[in-house]
Amino acid sequence: MSRAVRFAPLAVFLVIVIALIWRLATPTSTFVPSRLEGKPLPAFDLGPGVDTKPALSTRDFADGQPHILNIFASWCVPCVSEVKVLQELKARGAAIEGIAIRDTPEDVAAFLARNGDPYDRIGSDPQSALQIALGSSGVPESFIIDGRGVIRYQHIGPIERSDIGMIEHKLEQAR
């Protein structure tokens, strides 16, 4: 067996390893472009998610202002930390609407009392029907809706403090 042949497996393997290292080093984009961006919100008219706040329907988004539509649930752990960030966004002037997934008014009320309340309105989606229509696969997720009710951006997972700048930029663009 010639020398070249003997070293071939090693060489091939090293090439693969280098490629994998490169792959691990480049930050993985888990970004899946949303198919709904640029599409109007599906029509919906939800019941109230909590007794103390107004309910949510498609009409509420047609006021000429950009909105953040946040999908959350009282049983969702990442939502607890996300609510703090949403409050910050609200303090900076964002309009935030909520959809409570598979939840009860009592649990939502307790969740808001404990963690804070950034929402103008909360709709209840007890069977995830709207969530599925929105193409959302988990909680939390957020959408930026422009003043004409068109989805401009889908954010999968909690909005972190470091995302605030990006979200405000998107809101500005949606204006």
Binding site: M1, R3, P9, I16, I21, L24, T30, V32
Partner: protein, 644 residues
């Protein structure tokens, strides 16, 4: 306390692995006497990992929520068996299981290996210790399964309900036995290349390990395929998903190794090739673990994405495999090929077998990793789907199946007899199958048609090694060969029949409505709510008839509360000639229910075939082990050689 005991055992085991490695350098430099100590160290190390694993099982069985892993993956309301299975249904636990099997296998090698020379065994035990050491470091540094939470939470976060299934509780351990069993073949190959003792004796020492690992891999893949079939509710048995491929690649390499090792054992030939396959087989196990555990590939088996762990595993993989390949490159020149053989001989047959299996392996490997590289280069997201794999692997598998019928009939070294004459009956069977399918079902695809043809031919051809002799005096290994090859024919017919003859019906039905699928009439009688221990469900009652008496099927859509998830529980009725597979989905606004019905003729043959392939392996393994023992007894006692 239990968790701390487990952690301490793990640290001790890591220390012993380091010591074992040190002993190897001592022994190979001068003093072979430390070999006994080395065997003892390997055994104790194995026992310690067993203790660590037992500790993990115990904290899960008791739902000790102060252990972070239990909190993340268990729940007090979960059925007991899934509490225990939860121990390995997560990253840290499964890696502990991996290490446990690795070092227990090492302990068995130390206890029972008498077929290699002492020097090779020492080098192999050293290699095994080096492997274990890396994975101990991975566990202790990057994935501690025993980390505590303070204060302890009141309730756990549950387990993915898809994993609450007996199939999945036992499917990963089976695969792990296979993956990690191959580590012994790797270590023996590395050891023998190191000591320059690659010979037939080594092949015979390696063979039971490869066979054993291969049996577990076969069973694991078969069981995993059946699990995906009935639990995911997609009606398919193989999806070419990266995680499935991760289990298929070591199997392909092990299958090739299993065959080439016979050439080395019987004829002393194919030395370099066999050593390389032994290295590749376990490398594929590590590649699979890396792919699955690093989250580098997107897959339906969505495991957590964690670049740090990925980097660690990649470093281990890189070190071990490049070390082994470097050794191969340096020692390859000294691997003198054994007895020569002619063009028509069993050796040639096995070489062709190996070439085809290697090409399939390469195809699967490229197809699995290709999306990664394309995304890295062009940023484009794509996935390589079933059409690619089927188009490349399908025809190759058919050619291989065709040759499987011939190979075992050939003699070693050279074949002068007119062997092809023996294949008249199988060839006629295959031809009639082809003719019948052309007449009866003219519209089916070319691959399934050829699948049925080759399946019929191979079913007959695979039995030929037992024809013309007293089958009960044939060695068990021959029986194993026949049963495995017959299993391939059975699985092939199952796959082809499933592709060719499946009828599918997707419809929205109101209660009382009747749908037809294949020869069946299925009536939706009612949909009622149900409740289980940690789930609620909507259960449909279906009444299926085909001429004779009705059969009741009850598929469900289940809602699990913690974490909130929805699963489809298919209702499947098995008949001798196929399966009726039913799924109930959501209700629509008009009061109708989504129903998905399949009639899958002979689909069960796929898994029956898989089981037969594994059974053949088991027969061969028992045969080899018994014969080895008998031979030692005949030579006047095996005790003497124990520490020779």
């Amino acid at each position: 306390m239990i968790a701390e005991t487990g952690l301490a055992a793990l640290w001790l085991a890591a220390g012993l692995a380091a010591y074992q490695l040190f002993l190897m350098t001592m022994a190979l430099r001068s003093r072979v006497e430390v070999a006994r100590a080395m065997r003892a160290v390997a055994v104790v190390q194995g026992a310690l990992t067993l203790i660590a694993f037992a500790a993990l099982l115990l904290v899960f069985a008791r739902t000790d929520l102060s252990v972070a892993l239990v909190f993340e993956n268990s729940h007090s309301a979960k059925p007991f068996i899934y509490k225990v299975a939860g121990a390995w249904g997560n990253h840290e636990g499964s890696m502990l299981m991996w290490v446990m099997i690795l070092s227990v296998a090492g302990a068995f090698l130390a206890l029972f290996s008498r077929r290699t020379s002492e020097r090779t065994l020492i080098a192999a035990l050293g290699s095994q210790a080096a492997l274990a050491l890396g994975f101990y470091a991975f566990l202790l540094i990057a994935s501690n399964p025993f980390a505590r939470l303070n204060p302890a939470p009141l309730e756990g976060r549950g387990l993915n309900p898809l994993l609450q299934d007996p199939g999945l509780a036992f499917h990963p351990p089976t695969l792990y036995f296979g993956y990690v069993g191959l580590s012994i073949a790797f270590s023996l190959a590395v050891g023998a290349m190191f000591t320059n003792e690659v010979d037939a004796k080594l092949a015979r020492a390696m063979r039971p390990w490869v066979l054993g690992a291969w049996i577990f891999l076969t069973l694991g893949i078969t069981a995993g395929s059946y699990w995906a079939y009935y639990e995911l509710g997609w009606g398919g048995y193989w999806f070419w998903d990266p995680v499935e491929n991760a289990s298929l690649m070591p199997w392909l390499a092990a299958t090739a190794l299993l065959h080439s090792i016979n050439v080395l054992a019987a004829r002393g030939a194919l030395k370099a090739w066999t050593m390389m396959l032994a290295v590749i087989a376990f490398s594929m196990s590590m590649v699979g673990t890396f792919l699955v555990r690093s989250g580098i590939l997107t897959s339906v088996h969505a495991f957590a994405i964690d670049p740090e762990r990925g980097t660690f595993l990649l470093a281990l993989l890189g070190i071990y495999v490049s070390a082994a390949f470097t050794l191969f490159a340096l020692r390859g020149a000294t691997l003198k090929e054994g007895a020569p053989f002619e063009l028509v001989s069993r050796e040639t047959g096995l070489v062709i077998n190996n070439l085809i299996l290697s090409v399939v392996l390469g195809t699967v490997f490229v197809g699995t990793l290709y999306p990664l590289f394309v995304e890295a280069v062009s940023g484009e997201k794509l996935s390589v789907g079933a059409p690619y794999f089927n188009a490349v692997a399908g025809p190759l598998a058919l050619i291989l199946a065709l040759l499987v019928g011939i190979g075992p009939l050939l003699a070693w070294r050279r074949e002068r007899r007119p062997v092809l004459k023996l294949l008249t009956v199988p060839a006629l069977l295959g031809a009639s199958a082809l003719a019948i399918t052309i007449i009866v079902v003219p519209s089916i695809g070319i691959l399934p048609r050829l699948g049925l043809t080759v399946g019929a031919y191979l079913a007959a051809a695979s039995i030929l090694p037992l024809v013309g002799r007293n089958p009960f005096r044939a060695p068990l290994a021959t029986w194993g060969l026949v049963v495995s090859h017959f299993g391939i024919a059975v699985a092939l017919v199952g796959m082809a029949a499933n592709t060719a003859f499946t009828s599918e019906r997707l419809a929205v039905a109101k209660p009382g409505e009747v749908l037809s699928v294949g020869p069946w009439l299925v009536q939706l009688e009612d949909v009622t709510p149900m409740a289980g221990k940690n789930w609620t469900a909507l259960e449909a009652q279906l009444r299926a008839t085909r001429g004779s008496g009705p059969i009741i099927l009850k598929p469900q859509t289940r809602y699990f509360s913690d974490p909130p998830t929805e699963t489809n529980e298919a209702a499947i009725q098995t008949f001798w000639n196929g399966q009726l597979y039913t799924i109930v989905g959501k209700a629509d606004d008009t009061g109708g229910w989504q129903l998905r019905l399949w009639w899958k003729p002979f689909v069960t043959l796929i898994w029956l075939g898989g089981a037969l392939i594994a059974l053949g392996g088991a027969l061969a393994l028992v045969g080899r082990l018994l014969r080895g023992r008998l031979r030692r007894v005949a030579r006047g006692g095996w005790r003497r050689e124990r520490y020779a």
